[in-house]
Amino acid sequence: MPVELISANHAAALAATLAGRANRTARGFCSGVYPITPSTECMEYLCGQEIEKGKVVRADSEHNAMGICIGASASGARSFTTTCSNGLAYMIENCVAAAGYRLPIVMSVANRTLGPPWNIWADHGDSLMMRDLGWLQLYSADNQEVFDTVLCAFKLAEDPRVMMPALTCMDGFILSHTMAQVEVPSQEQVDRFLPPTDIPQRLDKSAHTLGQMETPHQSVVHRMQHHQAMLTAQQVYAEIQDSFEEVFGRRPADPLVTYRAEDAETLIVSMGTLGVTAERVVDQLREQGQAVGSVRVRMFRPVLDGDLRKIFAGKKRIAVLDRDVSIGFGGVLWGEVRGFAEPATIVQNYMVGVGGGDVRPEHMLTLLAELEQSHESGAPQIVEVA
């Protein structure tokens, strides 16, 4: 498979382009895009592509970029966009709508701190804001993963058992602007992996109305259906990994990436590129004879409670690293996963790299040394990294 040296932003856009072309025998591809640092290069790349039966509309705002994706997807086309930070905040009303219509739109987010005060560096607070809206959420840690995840996200979102929008996240700048080798499949391979999309609720000939008023008992059923559909995503993703491997000859990353976790006494739990640093730290501490392991949460929605319970079982200590702060609470990831640990396990939350701070192995080593000395779970800590 040919290898290209591209940034993660370009990898996401290239995957979307291939996915868009793969729908040329059906309703085509249409996307609304709008620039924002550090996601801009993704939309720029998309604007530079020739996509057969495809159109990229240069919108006037993120809100309308998602509006265009909604119109396109509701007409049966494959659709994709990209944004982050305040752009995502501005778009979010239409993200709610996209989920409500159950449209399989895929969006790439180069995670960035919300402002003002303005800050363009990586922080997961933007996409975590979308936690409860009915979007699938996947976090990547390298460029190949970003590329593979976007392709898989289309297949996952469009699966009739799932049928809902998907967010594919990468750390702003740390990944979005890093050039790395990415194996890029041929269009013919992508065509085989991603068959033409079929959106059953699309506006066609029948006179149905999408998104109209409903009563409480109808809303609760729609929420229930949406919830159940999202819970099937883990099983569907496993099938997608198999078919991905069959077509491309390599396996996309697992929903939870464990590293030397099985026999570990202490676990580091994190998302995105923090997980890569954590794996380095695990190696260093293993050399010193400490039984440390790492879990990188790639699939944040749906939450993989059963698997996390199994991984957490019998651990003495768990350090949950959050690149986000839920003000007045603690780390969002910590809040989600702490309940899956056994009562005897010490679960400590460290919010590191908030606002884009550069988290290096030495920072993690210091935190873990502190954790080794503790005998109970403490309050969540916001950690400054220089």
Binding site: D60, N64, I70, A72, S75, Q218
Partner: protein, 308 residues
Amino acid sequence: MMNEPALNGMAYTERDRREPLLRPGNSNCGGCGMSNLMQMLRRAAADRELKMVVPACCAAVTSGGFPESAFSIPTIMSTFASAASVATGVAAVAQLNGEETRVICLAGDGGTYDIGMGTLSAAAERNEDILYICYDNEIYGNTGGQRSSATPVGAATTSTLRGKQEGKKDILGIMAAHRIPYAASISLAHIDDTLRKLQFALDAKGFRFLHVLSPCPTGWKSEPAMGIELVRLAVRSGLFPVFEVFDGERYLINVEPEFSAEALTMYLALQRRFRNTGVTEESLRPSIERYWNYLRLMSGRIVPARRN
């Protein structure tokens, strides 16, 4: 309520679309101008394939509750500010697939003049292949009648109890300034002109904008049966100019008003929203004249603004 005599005797003919666009059993108030508009649109559209985008507005309620719908065409209910962007996606995919589908936005004045203004402007600037119809009842009707930038001076609303101080935004001037292929105002009281414009706008390509003064008995505090008559008075008095603009350049006045003081007085008197707010025929006259002088200039019609 369909095909009532008040619509200038408009009757169902074999040229009409077989099924009404707005079906019986819809939840519109009696005397709603939008109901009249949908009836005329039915005739104008005939057999054309249509898709519709409706933002949050009265029309989002019109269709009734899931899963039934009072609209007989595929419709998507968009968020408040997004009608023209959702329609952009719908129209783009129709075009990619070589379909003749006409994509219509049916939006109120709040979603057009206020919250959806940026979206509307952007879609017009891109010259998307959309027919955007604003049924303007001059208030936020769905939420119980608050002021919008389409509310005229002197109209009492639930958020301007003593009458609005500011004038109405010049929506057609704004749309014409985008140099879109077609922008026009529609009088529900002038049915031939209305049908001609609807048909022209349905067939034209690119961004088309229609502005409809839509009587709202609930918000205007007027008699439901008087809606069409109120529109006629607004046209006769010069308060609601009926004209069209091609490519943002060629202005054409379609109905020459008589600038009747009596018509204007009656228009104000028949709506309780203008009662006790201080607005009178005399107080409105200067702004009507000023706007008509501008229209004369743009249309090149050298006719005095006022005839006595």
